[in-house]
Amino acid sequence: MSDKLFKIILSSSAVIILLISGGMVYSLTSGSIPAFKEFGFFNFIFSPEWNATPGNEEYGALTFIVGTIMTSLLALLFCIPFSLPVAIFIGEYFKGKRIASVLGTIVDLLAGIPSIVYGLWGFYVLRPLIVSLGLSEQGFGVLTASLVLAIMIIPYAASLSSEFIRLVPGELKEGAYSLGATRAEVIQSIIFPLAGPGIFSAYMLALGRAFGETMAVTMLIGNANIIPTSLTDTGNTMASIIANQFGEAGGLKLSSLIAIGLLLFIITAIINYIGKLIIKRRNQ
């Protein structure tokens, strides 16, 4: 194949992505316009109201924005101390050995459990556990949802990170060992810097997954349209309210739900951008 043709094929795939994302933003925006027109763009974002009584309808996204960010960031926080060690276990310490393969398979299996089963497990197992530990009175809430979410995103973070850790060239590591570095130091000063960008993007993907998770969260977060102020409070997330209300919504409510979908898009963009800035700062 000629180089030129190849380059064209490469660029056209990029264009396809542009078209798809652009198209989605367009569809979401045109669906949200009625809601923004009615409530005002910034008013909608910062309003904690969600009142569906006909004649008195008022919708706002703040409750859900806070809920989404809280649960997703918490989930990421909970998952890092477990997914990172697993990635190091599989990609470095026991690289190539049977046990790494077994652990890797177990972690990958987690990715295949349907979110409704996570929700059920959380409902029947985790929630009573939290209630009996005295952490929360009725068991639903930000904490429960974040815990289950953390378990759900572990495979994304761990699997991909382990691949990147694996790919660090052996010569670089051997060079460090020959200079007298311990294993821990090799991990710290060779593997992490090199696999770092990959690992970071793996966690960004995991975060994105957490933002968009619907089923498991909606069964455990309590679905109260209030802004949670503590871990044990109930709340609601953007994905959850869309999933819960979409089937029965019409008119202004439907438009508000689509607007929330658009906002989720925007918030994911902002968080991703902030993440990239952090990486840039560190590299300087």
Partner: protein, 286 residues
């Protein structure tokens, strides 16, 4: 050279810490897996794979008689396979090629925009993808269909494949590429015959994760494929999938047992894919 005590302790501590935390991670996983297996294995028999879903009446008779619920999830299995296949055919080529593009064009402006947008796509709740495909595919086709479901799933799969391909390629030593080019091979040959095979592990992981994700998706399929109680080979008609069936079982008071057996099926499917993937990637690893 003697290693200082501090460095020695740090070394051992990290080692032990990693092992303990990895072990702890395995705990909830195994807990969930065990629960699914225990609650689900009884329903699995030959019929499970070949029969269509039982009605609630069948279930009532079975429960009253103390037997397992008859029927199976064949309509879900076939629908799922068809839609995942379509999604793969769409998402894998586009995803890998876009990943190559991004890895080869790290500085370009267009590339950073595309990279950004891909990360955005990852964060969209699957139900929003479903809403959009409903507008783009279902309404013009004037029918719910497996095609619409496949398209929705492919969009969900894309970001994972693109990013994992890109990041894996970026980690490959540039010497590989340079060696190939210096031998006079064309750019595309070097990519297809040298770079991609070395990156196979990472790429396949991304694909595997993407497939695992979409076989568990319900919301987008409700709005695009609708569901079907019969095995449906015609992709322009509504189709079911195992995840959709799980949702139906959830809502039916008599079919609760089927939730677990259907989930067990999904897990076995992922396991088989995993084993298959590891076999292939071991063969291809340079």
């Amino acid at each position: 050279m003697k290693i200082s005590r501090y460095r020695n302790i740090k070394n051992k501590a990290l080692y032990i810490g990693v092992i303990i935390l990895s072990g702890l991670t395995a705990v909830p996983l195994i807990a969930i897996l065990v629960k699914v297996i225990l609650k689900g294995w009884r329903q699995i028999n030959f019929d499970f794979f070949t029969q269509t879903t039982p009605t609630t009446l069948d279930a009532i008779y079975a429960i009253n008689a103390g037997e397992i619920i008859p029927g199976g999830i064949a309509n879900g299995i076939i629908g799922m396979l068809l839609m995942v296949l379509m999604a793969c055919v769409i998402a894998i080529p586009i995803g890998i090629i876009c990943g190559i593009y991004l890895a080869e064009n790290t500085k370009s402006h267009l590339a950073s925009i595309v990279r950004f947008l891909t990360d955005l796509l990852q964060g969209i709740p699957s139900i929003v993808v479903g809403i959009i495909i409903y507008i783009w595919v279902v309404i013009p086709m004037k029918s719910y269909s497996a095609i619409a479901g496949g398209v929705a799933l492919s969009i969900i799969m894309l970001p994972l494949i693109v990013r994992s391909t890109e990041e894996t390629l970026k980690m490959l030593p540039t010497t590989l590429k340079e060696a190939g080019l210096s031998l006079g091979a064309s750019y595309s040959s070097v990519v297809f015959r040298v770079i991609l095979p070395s990156a196979f592990g990472g790429i396949f992981t991304g694909i595997l994760l993407a497939v695992s994700r979409v076989i568990g998706e319900t919301a987008p399929l409700m709005l695009t494929a609708l569901g079907s109680s019969a095995v449906q080979w015609d992709v322009t008609k509504p189709a079911s999938s195992v995840s959709l069936l799980i949702w139906e079982f959830y809502n039916d008071p008599n079919l609760q047992n089927m939730i677990w057996s259907a989930s067990l099926f999904l897990l076995m499917f992922i396991l088989i894919l995993n084993i298959f993937a590891k076999r292939i990637s071991n063969k291809w690893r340079i």
